[in-house]
Every structure is written in structure tokens, then in C-alpha cells.
Symmetry: C2
Subunit: 348 residues, 2 copies
Amino acid sequence: MDRRITKKGDDDASGKERPTLKTLAFMTGLGVTTVSRALKDAPEIGAETRRRVQLVAKQIGYRPNRAGVRLRTGKTNVISLVLNTEHELMSFVSDIIYGVTEVIADTPYHLIVTPYSRSQDPLDPVRYLVETGSADGVIISRTQPNDPRARYMLERGIPFATHGRTDMGLVHPYHDFDNYAFAAEAVRYLAGRGRNRLALVTPPVGLTYHGHTVAGFADALSEVGASEVPFNTVSIDQSIEQIRMRTAQLMRRKDRPDGFVSSAAAATLAIVAGIEDAGLKLGRDVDVVSKQSSELLHLFRRELLVVNENFRLAGSELARAVLGWIGGADPGTLQSLSTPSEVLPYRG
Amino acid sequence: MDRRITKKGDDDASGKERPTLKTLAFMTGLGVTTVSRALKDAPEIGAETRRRVQLVAKQIGYRPNRAGVRLRTGKTNVISLVLNTEHELMSFVSDIIYGVTEVIADTPYHLIVTPYSRSQDPLDPVRYLVETGSADGVIISRTQPNDPRARYMLERGIPFATHGRTDMGLVHPYHDFDNYAFAAEAVRYLAGRGRNRLALVTPPVGLTYHGHTVAGFADALSEVGASEVPFNTVSIDQSIEQIRMRTAQLMRRKDRPDGFVSSAAAATLAIVAGIEDAGLKLGRDVDVVSKQSSELLHLFRRELLVVNENFRLAGSELARAVLGWIGGADPGTLQSLSTPSEVLPYRG
DNA sequence: TTGGCAATCTGTAACGTTTCAGTATATTGA
DNA sequence: TCAATATACTGAAACGTTACAGATTGCCAA
């Protein structure tokens, strides 16, 4: 046995170091190239050799070195989730992350979270990712009808999926919740309870689902013959205090609404607080239909009427979509729309 | 101008490709080595050369290739946040992520989220990270007094920080909320309101802060001469329905508590629901002091008494701690404890 | 027998970076 | 003047992987 002190032996396959292709090559007596190809089931490798290599690889727990692969091929095995650090709903963040990780769990992919803040152009983080080649695929939220990020990534040919749809005549993977249906159903439900002066707490202006929600609300209003009490000064991006104050103001007017449709649970808490600040009672003076992503609103007030939106599902669908695109699928087939549950009153 | 068709010119520094050290070397007329050293302010590079290289690098927007660095040096520039996909509080996830990203924003670090589920050994994801060398630093939560993950990483010499303390006589960076103080203050406050039969809704059994909370609760009880109503069947890891049901059961007994201390906001919602299920009224029949991480509990019931825990701060502190350790600081100096706010009643 | 060809396998180069071991030039001391 | 030394720079090798362009073998048709 020759022992090398300073230099790491060319042919060492011993001890503690993480195994590489070279280790495998030495152990099997094959060339590095052959091992590499055998591991990825290349056709020009003999069936027995392939099995042998794969067996040894499994035995010693070989895992390809990510840096090596990435340097050579450009493939990062990374999916990036781009998040706004000020405006995302907090349940959104955790659920969507879990949804994504669920899907990529048995793939070589890692999930990196790329944040951006209010002050930044939302395009910044995306540009960074693309320019530095930091990810094979990107997931973005807060999608706009004419979304520069989607356009940018489409131009550069980097796979992505959007939470929410765009409206630019360009085709790309997305997952969306049917907010049109949500708003429309909410209105119909309220009308069914005799409410006919309705206010809408909208999603952030500028995002695509704002438009969907407003349209669903408006269409159903005219369908059931109810009328809208304008409440445009409020959207779910605002602070709890703002929403609460504005709601209280609104509810003290005599032309106040007798029903609300709210696009987010946190806003709903504020709405209810505002209603009660004005001395009115939920369920008697006014009904509120709200979206929620966790089952907490009914604990808050049983009189609330809720519709569930599943962000974990959204995360999974988005991850599946990006992976699909990376895998070469047609982007047009990687689009999904999630149908709202019916409006649910408190059940015993 | 010679144009090479198939091969990429050895000396090309033209068009669209991302600039590398080679590009910079060509542009400055220096060797690749010199450029590399000049960019990292090595002493043996002439002052003018250094400035020149750095200027050009900035001009053309050079960014080191992560794969190249990682392959050569083993440095990943990645921090991994290890999360349990079933039991983490949802506000915890989003806030801690934002806290971490805030700190690493102007560093070369990326944040990757490494999940593990109920069925898995919590050591699994950590072992994976260490074995594959996927991160320079790790942040873990749900810390236990004798935590195999901390021990493992300490043995392997990989920098990490824990959310919550361990109790193994080993020193490592952590950030923790002073749950002993929280529980004790809560008890004192309740006693001040004349409540003297108190129940504790504990953190998950087995985690370090369970012990801290229980101890703070017990010590303050004897200090103020109040007594504990055992409620050991419930912890904040359980489902909303479970907690609610158990609470209702408890509150129907005649030896029921007149005060609760709750370690998490979601559990508190269930506690209150259970109290009301039993026909009792918050603030009259019973008081509840609860930790919360977002300011929502007072919207839920004004009678609630809250103490704020800032997870975003925790995320920042943890990130700072890991980066500090990576940077060579003494782990013993990278520990922080966050003091609870006082108990806050609803303020107008 | 020979040429051709399929089936398997292999060495070399390259991705972008840093480190090692220099080299070239100027400067110093005697 | 010469050697020693400091200063400023450089090429080659290596990290682990994959793609390219062969190389070797055996078999079969002619």
C-alpha cells in the first residue's frame, strides 16, 4: 500500500470523501464516461454494466454533485418562488411553499425563495434570476393582466408559472382560483338571503384577479337585481386599521350596504370589526361572505359565510406546471383553474 | 475579424454571453488569475490594477458564476431553512422567511427551504443537507433540549442556528423568545385580575420551550398563590377541533379554570370557541392571555389579553447568527433572547 | 480472408472558479 | 556589479460533470 501524504491519490476510492463518478469508475473498473452514461440509462451501455453501476452507486450512496452538473450543463435543479415581502397574505406564503415542496420532494429540485420589497420593481428579482441563471423555473404571484415579468421570461425562454392569469394574448402555464365564480356565487347567496345592497372588498387594484372579482360581482348583481354600494377606497392590501375605519364610516351612513363580499380573511376580520364599531350586528344587519384559506373564520364569527381557497393546492399545481414546462410539455396544457367551494355557513 | 462558426472563440469578449473572468481578463489585458485576485482585494495586486479591474467588472455587470465558485471552493452561498410541513405555525413560516431574506438581501446568499413531514425523522433533512454539502448554514426550528440535529451539525462542523434553545451543555447560536417570562407574566397579570385557577395551553411536548413555558407558569403560580387546573391533554400542535372540544369539556366541569395562558394564536381561537360552547363568556367568566405573532387576536375578541412574539425578528436574528458563524465569529456570542412585551389588553 | 458495422466502452476537453507554483521586472544592499 | 528580495503578475491544475470524437471487440456478409 502506498500512502500519499499531501496529494489526494488519483485512484483513491477509500474513506470518508463523498463518492464521485471517479470513485464509481474505480470501483467498477470502468471509465468515468461509462459510469456517467450508465447512471442515466444511456442506450449504448450494456444492460449488465448498467445494472452493475447502478447497484454500486446505490450501495455507496452516490449523489451527483450539483455544482458539477450545474457548471457543465447549466441545469440548476432549482425552482424559485418569487414573493413580495410586504403584500403577500401570510397563509399564502406558508401554504404555497408547502404545496411546492410536496411536489418537488422526490425530484432533485430545491426551492429557493426570492423576495422583493415594495420599493423595488417586481421585475428586478426575475431579471436577477434570469441573468444569473439561478433557476430552471420560476413561480410568480400577484400576476397582472399585462405582466412584464411574464413577458420577460417568455422572451428569454425560461420556464415559469404564474399564480393568477395574464391577459396579453400570450400563452404560459398558470394556476388560478376562479374569482369570477367566487364573487358571483357570493352575490347570489347574499341575494338568496334577501340582501340587495352589496359592497365588495376587492383584491389589490392592478392584479388580474381584481378584474375577475369585480366582473363576477357586477354580473351577478345585475343577474339578481341587487345594487352595489361603492367601496372603492378599500382593497385587501390595505392595513387592518384602514379597512376597519373605512368600514365603520361606511356603515354609519344610512345608505349602508346589507352585505359584503370579501376577498381575503384578514380583511374580513377588519370588516367585521368596522361593522361592530358602527354598532351593527353581523347576521342581523349585514351578512359577509369571505374567502378564506384556513378554516378559522367560523371560529371568529359563526355568522360569517365562507368560501375556501386552497393555497397548498395552488402551490402543487404551480410546481407541477413549471416542472412540466421544464420537462418539455406544451405550456398551453399546463394551465389550471380551481373552482370555488359553495358558500358555506357555519355548520354545527 | 475572424469569425469562428462552430467553436466559441477563445478570446471572445463580445456579445450576449454572460461575462466571466475570462471576459474580464481579455478586456483588461490581464490574466484570469490576476482578475480573480483583484476582485477580492488581494494584497499582491497593484492598487491601480485593482481599481481598473473592479471598474470594468462593475461596468459590464460581472457576477461570479455560482457553480464555478461552488465547485472549486465548496462554498454554496446558500442558507437552508428546515421546516416541518405539518406543524409549523403558518405565521411563523412567512414571517421567519421574510426575516431571513431581509438579512441576506445584500449578501450573495440564497435561501432554500428544506421541508420534512411528520413521518420523517427530523434528522433526515439535516443529514441530507450536510451529506450533499447543499448549504453553508442551516436554520432549524422546533428545537429540543437534547436535539440530535444540533449535535449532528456540531459534530460535522457545519454552521447552524436554532430557533429555541437546547440543553445539552453544547454551545451554538440560537434565537429564542423568553417563554418563561411570557408564561410568568401572563400568570401574574391574570392574578392581578383576581383569577386564581389557571390552565396552560402548552407548546408541543418535547420541544425546549414547552419546558420553559411550563416552568414560568408553575413558578409564577406559586409566587402569586394561584393554582393550576391541569389541561395536559392539550397542546398547540393539536387540531383546532380537538382543542375546542377538550376546552368545552373542561369548562363544563365545576372545577373549571377562570384563566388560560395560551402559547399560540390559533389555539386561542379554539380555546375561546370551546369556552363559548360551554356557555361561558370571555372577560366575565374567564380571562385568556395569549401569545400572538400578528395583531389579529384583538379583532377576534377584544377581551383577549395578548403578548406579541415577533417571528420576523426571529428570522433576522437567526440569519445574522448563521452568517456570523460562517464568517468565523464565536458561536457563543451569537445567541439572543427576545423579551416578551407586557400583557396587552385591547386598547380603544 | 477482409471489410463493414454494430455494440460497448474510453480519453480528452470544457464549463468558471481558485490555488499553487512559479516568472519577470524592478529595487535594494553590499 | 551581483545577488538577494520584493512587487506584480501569470499559466496550469483541479473541483465533478457531460459531450464529443474516437477506440476496441466481435460478428457477419461478401
